[in-house]
């Protein structure tokens, strides 16, 4: 039981930190940015490079920091080159373009680093609490996420810049006519979501392994988490990640066989991804029910 909770928390942490960026972007620019997933992949690879390139070999936390900054700047660059010129394009159009961007980044990463997996060599020791086994790395990941989420919350709700961002999210035209520097704040949003994704991607890479195809592994859980939280609600995405992670881990943990048939039987671990899509479908079914009552536009 504790083991499942621990696993859930660690997984939710990794997903949440990437998912908040998707909803940040959605809340301000009103489109689902599929390129965001690639920010996480790029972040992971940059961290790897900063930590391993001979002559540089930064300690891991510093490498992650550097990776976060560079990925954040890359997100701004992409906005300048692509999305800022498409502000008047439909949400569908921007979403499709974001796939183009994603395809481009993904292939460039794969071209540079190759398709084989890389593993971070991080020393960590095992902690045993009751019958739960986890590592110091798990604790570090959960703590890092917690700190970052609290910091993001304080930033959004306790600073002037943060409240500017929130004003932009709730009513862009009004915010701009009130003298809020829209363009600069949008750039800031890109930087924030890019660097958060980089840290999230690095954490996942450190805990599992680094591979260009990791984007497909995290794509559905992240968008499921964001959808559960309600696309444009930043901390809804965190709650979505927690709910999804708990659902995934508990469904695998519960001994359905003993419950119903007497013989122990578990849902195989490989069906974890189904939970993400299933959750997505369930949420959408509920939402289409409720939005049928209210007008769509």
């Amino acid at each position: 039981m504790i083991q499942v909770l621990v696993n859930s928390i660690v997984y939710a942490s990794e997903i949440a930190i990437i998912a908040v960026g998707v909803s940040l972007c959605y809340s301000i620019l009103r489109f689902a940015n599929f390129a965001h997933i690639q920010f996480a992949v790029v972040g992971g690879y940059l961290t790897y490079s900063f930590a391993t390139i001979p002559g540089l070999a930064l300690p891991l936390p510093l490498a992650m920091l550097a990776s976060a900054v560079v990925t954040g700047l890359m997100a701004i660059l992409i906005d300048i080159l692509v999305f800022s010129r498409l502000r008047n394009t439909s949400a569908e159009g921007k979403m499709i373009v974001s796939w183009g961007v994603a395809l481009f980044i993904r292939s460039i990463v794969a071209a540079i680093y190759g398709g084989s997996a890389r593993v971070f060599d991080v020393p960590s020791s095992t902690i045993v609490v009751g019958d739960a086994v986890f590592t110091t790395l798990d604790v570090a990941i959960a703590c890092a996420t917690l700190v970052l989420m609290v910091a993001l919350h304080l930033f959004l709700y306790r600073t002037r810049v943060g409240s500017g961002l929130r004003a932009l999210a709730s009513n862009q035209e009004l915010a701009v006519t009130r003298g809020i520097p829209g363009d600069r704040l949008i750039r800031l949003m890109w930087f924030l979501s890019g660097s958060l994704a980089a840290i999230g991607g690095s954490l996942i890479a450190i805990q599992t392994r680094l591979q260009p195809s990791m984007d497909l592994v995290i794509l559905l859980p992240i968008f499921a988490a964001v959808t559960i939280g309600g696309l444009n609600n930043v901390f809804g995405a965190v709650i979505g990640a927690v709910i999804l992670s708990l659902a995934q881990n508990f469904l695998i943990w519960i001994d359905f066989g003993s419950l119903f048939f007497g013989d122990p039987w578990h849902i195989p671990t490989k069906f974890r991804d189904y939970v993400a899509v299933l959750a997505l479908v369930l949420v959408l079914l509920l939402r289409s029910r409720s939005s049928a009552a209210a007008a769509k536009r």
Binding site: A32, T89, E92, V97, G100, Y274
Partner: protein, 291 residues
């Protein structure tokens, strides 16, 4: 050289059918299907599974053509009345679920290794079949495009609320167009399975979906001949880059990745500089004299 031309035409024909299928969904109706590879995979696997069970080819073809529209209705049901963001997510999710299912049910699908399908021995026959499927699909798509049905699909693309205040139920049109489009893609899938001789999950990833998208955006969303042109360019780029790789001795991996990167770039550049595509949707001019 002739072999190469025959092979290229065959592949272009198959992908043109996929592009036409996406075109009537997205180009005409405005439905964002990010799982376009799913009906293609359904067709391929219907052919593969029926072959592995020892049935003749037409059983597989029939199974594919029946399964695809049924799954289409199942997939779009949760997305009805929702904005296109959600259509995108749900179709993407459905395609991934199918791929995972194929990977996780090796008894039926061969898992990651895939299934062997009887192949067209004669490449000219393969090409002819692919061209025949393309011709039928093209005629259907043209008929839809120039008909009152296609006009209402376009009204739906422009403004769903307008369509419903004109007395049309948007979901009925979205469902019927999805059924037709998914059957087209399934037919392409069946054909493709018999051309390549095997089906495996690695042929049906998100990346393949975006190759189809790139073809449609490049060629001209809403224009049937345009998206065929787009598919031809994209596939020619694909096969010729393989040639170039052999020539200048670059690792095939690298070439494959650069090719995909260029597709991504094409998609972005088209949206930035020519969103209407190379061959834009034609204005349907009414000739008063004709009446």
């Amino acid at each position: 050289m002739l072999d190469f031309a025959i092979y290229s035409i065959t592949i272009i024909a198959v992908w043109s059918v996929l592009a036409l299928s996406l075109n009537i969904q997205f180009g005409m109706t405005g439905l964002v299907n990010f799982g376009q590879i799913l009906p293609f995979a359904l067709g391929s696997y219907a052919a593969g599974i029926s072959a592995s069970l020892g049935y003749p080819w037409w059983i597989g073809a029939l199974a594919g053509l029946i399964a695809a529209p049924l799954i289409a209705l199942l997939v779009i049901m949760p997305a009805q009345r929702l904005a296109q963001d959600y259509w995108a997510l749900i179709t993407l999710g459905a395609a991934e679920i199918f791929r995972l299912t194929v990977l996780n049910a090796p008894a039926l699908t061969g898992g990651a290794d895939g299934l062997v399908v009887p192949r067209f021995i004669d490449p000219t026959l393969a090409m002819s079949v692919a061209l025949a499927v393309l011709a039928v699909t093209f005629l259907l798509a043209q008929r839809i495009s120039s008909s009152p049905y296609g006009r209402m699909l376009r009204v739906l693309r422009e403004d769903e609320i307008l369509a419903s205040t004109l007395g049309r139920s948007p979901i009925r049109y979205q469902a019927s167009v999805s059924v037709i489009a998914w059957m087209m893609a399934a037919a392409a899938g069946v054909t493709y399975a018999h051309i390549t001789g095997y089906v495996a999950p690695s042929s049906f990833t998100v990346t393949e979906t975006f190759i189809i998208w790139t073809a449609v955006i490049l060629g001209g969303p809403g224009r049937n001949i345009g998206v065929i042109f787009g598919a031809a360019i994209i596939q020619l780029l694909g096969v010729s880059s393989r040639f170039v790789a052999q020539w200048i001795d670059l690792p095939p991996d690298l070439i494959a990745n650069l090719r995909l990167a260029s597709f991504g770039l094409v998609l972005v550049l088209m949206f930035l500089y020519r969103p209407q595509g190379l061959i834009p949707e034609a204005k349907q001019v009414h000739d008063a004299e004709r009446n």
